[in-house]
């Protein structure tokens, strides 16, 4: 028998390994046909990705949902309120040490936030009012979207600052789901010093600052500077530019009215709440507007020393799909954009997919 040379043998082994790897890779693709393939895409790029056909749909916050609908690129499959009525969304969070060192400053900041939110709710109640027109102008500037998109998006928004019972329940439900999905382990709850999810929510959300803020009165004294974190063009966080706007406050901003100087935190605006939490940890952010989901997740998993002080909005997200998609089932085997794995939007997708018995993979 002819002896096979060592070099030939090595070459044959090499080729067999390469072919096996390629074949094995093919086997794993099969599973993808049954599941929705979630891919992380920055919300600002989602409309273009949907338009190019790279993704069949996406879940995002406003105005990135209405942007595609008004632009004729996609349609709304589900508003987030249909998936989880009144679900918690954006909140005002604070770095704990900053709050304990500057309690008055924090309360005055919250008072401006409360007043801005109330002003927005009133403005939205009458879309023929001057306040509504001003609100739309501020929103157009903040989101860099045109008026039609902003008006459509605003019609899906519910702005609220109170920490309601529903908010507590929603946050607890979310935390329980995080554990069920194995994104957070039970160990992390106890590692952070909480007995269970209920104890965590009770301690992580501190309503005393908001209660005290209700009694805060305008002041001409400057109480200090707050470095504020917020997300890029997120219409949920419209209370921030509203409280900064001098026209809203009748000549000076609501922050100025309550003696607070605000400055954008280093790196802000951020692309998602997870990034903002990293900047909290880096010491760049004192107070911030962000999703309750990343605030909870990164506090539990990474121990970032923050707490929630007020709500900013609830609902206001949606699942947007290409015209050819009529149900969630049609999304199986297709790419679907999510803003990140720490967001409530990803969580909403998991919830509705679970309801319809569809797997979400990547």
């Amino acid at each position: 028998m002819k002896k096979v040379s060592k070099n030939k043998l090595m070459s044959i082994i090499g080729i067999v390994i390469i072919v096996s790897v390629l074949l094995l890779a093919g086997c794993f693709e099969e599973d993808g046909e049954k599941s929705i393939k979630a891919v992380k895409i920055a919300p600002k790029d989602m409309k273009a990705s949907l338009d190019s056909g790279d993704i069949a749909g996406y879940v995002a916050w406003e105005p990135y949902c209405s942007d595609s609908v008004v632009g004729g690129v996609g349609k709304t499959l589900h508003l987030s309120g249909e998936i989880w009525p009144g679900h918690p969304c954006c909140v005002v969070a604070v770095e704990k040490n900053f709050a304990s060192s500057n309690p008055d400053l924090v309360k005055h900041f919250l008072k401006a936030h409360m007043e801005a939110t109330t002003w927005m709710v009133n403005a939205l109640a009458d879309n023929t009012s001057m306040e509504y027109s001003l609100l739309v102008d501020i929103a157009v500037d903040f989101t860099a979207r045109d008026e039609a998109v902003v008006k459509e998006a605003l019609s899906h928004m519910t702005y609220v600052y109170l920490l309601t019972e529903d908010f507590y329940d929603g946050l607890k439900e979310y935390t329980d789901k995080l554990i069920e999905f194995e994104i957070v382990t039970d160990d992390k709850i106890s590692e952070r010093g909480y007995e269970d999810t209920e104890d965590f929510v009770d301690k992580y959300v501190d309503e005393t600052y908001l209660q005290d803020a209700a009694t805060v009165t305008p002041t001409s004294t400057s109480l200090g500077t707050v470095r504020v974190g917020y997300l890029l063009g997120d219409l949920h966080q419209l209370a921030y530019p509203v409280a900064k706007n001098s026209d809203v406050g009748g000549g000076k901003s609501l922050f100025e009215k309550y003696g607070v100087t605000v400055t954008d935190a280093s790196g802000a605006p951020y692309s998602n709440g997870g990034d903002e939490m990293d900047h909290f940890e880096a010491g760049d952010v004192d107070m911030g507007y962000l999703g309750s989901a990343p605030a909870v997740l990164k506090h539990l998993n990474a121990g970032i020393n923050t707490m929630i002080l007020a709500q900013v909005n609830n609902e206001g997200s949606a699942i947007i799909v290409a015209e050819s998609i009529d149900s969630l089932k049609d999304l199986r085997g297709k790419k679907f954009g999510i803003p990140g794995f720490s967001t409530v939007q990803y969580f909403l997708l998991r919830m509705i997919a679970e309801e319809e018995n569809i797997k979400v993979s990547t």
Binding site: L24, K40, G274, K335
Partner: protein, 280 residues
């Protein structure tokens, strides 16, 4: 005379065994230094992590635990084991490498051999080469389907080092060798196949080694954005997203080990091919 020859033989054996022992001893010393350096690195990491006491920098034993767990537990996002993530990344690297190799080697040989081809290709190469491969990610996502979108990023990382080293390899061939081959009547095809290509192999392998290193960097960056089908880069990105930094570091270590094995493998192949072609 026989006695003399036997003595010379004895001396030769003695010297050979002496050098063999010395060589083995040197190898052991080198290995010992490397192991010691790794141990010192891990201890320094552990000490610094303890001083910092932040989840952003987990201690080595936590990362080790997360690494082991990742092979036995599915991740909560893609429902894949680490082995599957490794496979997904390796397939992308493999596609990128194969395409880069098939295109870069012949092009490099031609550009090194022919002034006209060099003059035509060089401006385009020099224009595209400085662009970081990750800058092409949005383009790749829209224009290619899985796995070729990420493989394209890897391709860019590997293509240029292989191309440049192939061109360099051709240019550094001693003209006397070329002249001698011409004098002996070697055909153009044989010149390329039997004279130039073997001479280029050492620099080509250097290009492959460098390219594979860059390829691993590219795959991680590419998998962090808009990828389906998992991958170690995806794993790192998703875990960072939700603040599971011990798992994130575990993924980073996997990339390091895979890169080390791949580049080590390229070095091994380089030695074997060089020996096979009579270069060593």
């Amino acid at each position: 005379m026989n006695k003399k020859a036997s003595k010379a033989q004895k001396n030769r054996t003695f010297f050979l065994s002496f050098f063999k022992v010395k060589k083995n001893r040197d190898r052991l010393i080198h290995l010992g230094i490397s192991i010691l350096a790794v141990i010192i690195f891990i201890l320094a990491w552990d000490l610094y992590a303890q001083l910092q006491n932040k989840p952003y920098l987990p201690r080595p034993h936590m990362v080790f635990d997360a690494l082991i767990a990742s092979f036995f537990n599915r991740d909560p996002f893609s429902q894949r084991y680490m082995g599957e993530h490794i496979l997904a990344s390796m397939v992308r690297i493999l596609y990128g490498f194969i395409i880069a190799f098939i295109l870069a080697v012949p092009l490099g040989l031609l550009m090194g051999w022919s002034k006209h081809v060099h003059n035509a290709g060089n401006p385009i190469v020099e224009l595209i080469r400085p662009i970081p491969p990750i800058a092409w990610i949005p383009f790749a996502i829209v224009f290619f389907d899985e796995p070729f979108d990420t493989a394209f990023i890897v391709f860019l990382g590997i293509f240029f080092p292989v191309l440049i080293n192939t061109i360099f390899g051709v240019k550094r061939i001693d003209p006397i060798i070329i002249d001698a081959a011409k004098t002996l009547g070697v055909t153009k095809r044989n010149m390329l196949q039997k004279v130039i290509f073997p001479a280029v192999i050492p620099t080509l392998m250097t290009g492959i080694r460098i390219g594979l290193g860059i390829g691993w960097m590219c795959i991680v960056a590419a998998e962090m954005v808009g990828v389906t089908g998992g991958g170690v880069g995806f794993y790192i990105s998703a875990m960072a997203d939700v603040g599971r930094y011990d798992d994130m570091f575990a993924g980073m270590i996997v990339i390091g080990i895979l890169g080390f094995i791949t580049v080590g493998g390229a070095s091994y192949i380089e030695r074997r091919v060089s020996r096979w072609m009579g270069m060593r």
